[in-house]
Amino acid sequence: MIDKFFNPSSVAIIGASDKPGKVGKVILENFLKKFNGKIYPVNPNYDVIMGLKCYKSVRELPEPPDLAVIVIPAPSVPEVLEELGAKGTKAVIIISGGFRETNTPQGEMLEEKVKEIAAKYGIRIIGPNCIGIFDNWSGVDTFFLPEEKMKRPPKGYVGFISQSGAFASAIIDWMAYNNIGVSRAVSYGNKVDVDDVDLLKFFMSDEKTKIVLMYLEGLKTSRGKEFIKVARELVKVKPAVIYKAGKTSRGSMAAASHTAALAGDYSLYKSAIKQSGLIEAESFDEIMDIAKVFLTQPLMNGNKVYVVTDAGGVGVMLTDALTSQGFEMPRTPPDLKEELRSILPPHCIVENPIDLTGDTDDERYMKVLERILPRKEVDAVVVVALPQVPGIRGLLADYLIEAKNKYGKPIIAVAIGGEEARKISQKLESGGIPVFESPERAAKALKALYTYSMIKKEV
């Protein structure tokens, strides 16, 4: 059923407009640009709008649209919803605000009415007070932020669920800038009907989504168990990263109870996230870092990490960062030491982290990595390539991209610096080697990959 939201064959836009700055204009334009199905603008003030026949009301539509998008003032929404129900539409996105979020009796009443009508006709609803759906594959795009303000990312495989519309649009814009492909993004606002659990279910079987990112403020009452259950099913199939923000209001508790007093929302969510096998990101940076790693890297077999660097200092920082994330950095075994000594100048350090020093060149890295990557005591490699070193010319990037596929082990990179670093990073990232600007971020992202690898083994 939820599928109709993402793959409708026809859509009605109630409140379509051609007035600059109007939400109804941006949404209509979005559909005109990308959507291949039928588009029915509805607005009593137009006969024709952007070259399309405009209908005075829902009743006049030649067929029940698969999906309806409502962008009219809140007080008129129940009436239109009633008409849509009578017509037979089953999926409705209500963009309009002015409901429960206003904390007014009128807003609450309107929301109750919406619920009632939806239940009466069996309509599924996303919203109200949301920005709805951005679907890169079907062209459904109700994000009312014009493209010149919010770039759309390329077609890809990241799916989003976001309570916050602002967060959803910010992250979409960020992904567009970083050329990370998105499958579908949903911002559900007041969550009068369709919620996180429904969407996780949808993404579980969505072939276009390989990783799910989720921004959550709070679940609906009594949905916790179902959420954990569905998430556990989902993570068997694909990784999901969650960022938990804000607090929810819950019914008053027996304040006399010790446990009740300590059961702050977040501590319960934290446990639930752990129980569900979702990967928790603790900051915006982490969400993106983790996404980059999940999208490009194979899973890890164990927790042993090797570091190859041309900068001793960064090697030490990485050692601290990796070990404090719980990674093991194995000592180099005698036979490998011997082998490395025979191919490296005597001033290089063959212990882990392996330091190729500032006079290194691409070839030196390649020779060493070729010997390290196949070893069974290596589950992932972090390559530090400080671009300021004169011998680094670009061959290394090509090699790393190939080696990742050849050995099926995660390879990530740390590049610190300005313009040169940015150049190397772009090349590496376009080839599927994620690059991090700090050892700590690299270590945390790798930890997420390791955590999911272990969850996947378990479930």
Binding site: G224, S257, T259, L262, L268
Partner: protein, 232 residues
């Protein structure tokens, strides 16, 4: 009485907090290790039961109207003979009647004091979103000040409960320190699992605190139980 009847009784009487002996009966029904308790109405009755309970004996006033028992003289500990116990019960009833003249008195709870062990807390609460959740933490400052606790959403399996133990920052304390032997982690985990089951099966229970649970090298025992019911 089985838990359902105890809970029904309490709600019929308009109480949302179970009396001590009722709470002990409920946790016992679920196999949570706890001291045998009896409620006596006078010193004579107490005296006749003291030997059976074993020493040292602890006494606590049982009343739906008194929440701070020691403030009204409603707690006596470390009583070591039948005479001492009998006298203490009569005294307690007298003192409490003077200090809290309007309180309904059910009797005096009597049980054998548990030897000192490592004090931990197991608690459960019914959350609006997640339903029954169970908490674990070490007693005292670890919970009060550091809020070093872990939670799980029910149902909780033995391995989840053991993970809850490992999750707290002060976990090492469970493994023994300053010559203290390690405590029995399985025994604590079992109490967690049983608390989870208790909450699942009794939707009227809003929260439960087993505080403290004495943890020993070979076992663990809930020496105080507090059960709060939902307002109907």
């Amino acid at each position: 009485m089985i838990p359902r009847e105890i809970i029904k009784n309490a709600l019929n009487e308009g109480r949302t907090k179970l009396l001590e002996h009722e709470a002990f009966q409920v946790i016992k029904y679920y196999g949570i290790n706890s001291p045998d308790v009896v409620v006596v109405r006078n010193g004579e009755e107490a005296k006749s039961l003291a030997d059976k309970i074993g020493y040292p004996v602890a006494l606590k006033i049982v009343s739906p109207d008194i929440s701070h028992k020691s403030d009204v003289g409603g707690v006596k500990l470390n009583l070591k003979s039948p005479e001492e116990v009998g006298r203490a019960v009569d005294e307690m009833l007298k003192t409490v009647k003077t200090k809290a003249p309007n309180a309904r008195l059910v009797g005096v709870l009597m049980y054998r004091m548990a030897p000192q062990g490592l004090e931990v807390i197991v608690g459960g609460v019914r959350d609006g979103i997640f339903g029954p959740v169970v908490m674990f933490g070490l007693g005292g400052i670890f919970v009060e000040v550091l809020k070093d606790v872990s939670f799980r959403v029910s149902p909780i399996r033995m391995e989840d409960a053991l993970e809850m133990l490992r999750e707290i920052k002060s976990y090492k304390v469970l493994e023994g320190y300053r010559g203290q032997p390690p405590v029995n982690k399985d025994a604590i985990a079992e109490i967690i699992v049983k608390t989870s089951k208790l909450l699942e099966e009794n939707p009227e229970i809003e929260s439960i605190d087993l505080n403290p649970v004495m943890a020993y090298p070979d076992s663990a025992m809930a020496v105080d139980a507090r059960i709060i019911l939902k307002k109907p």
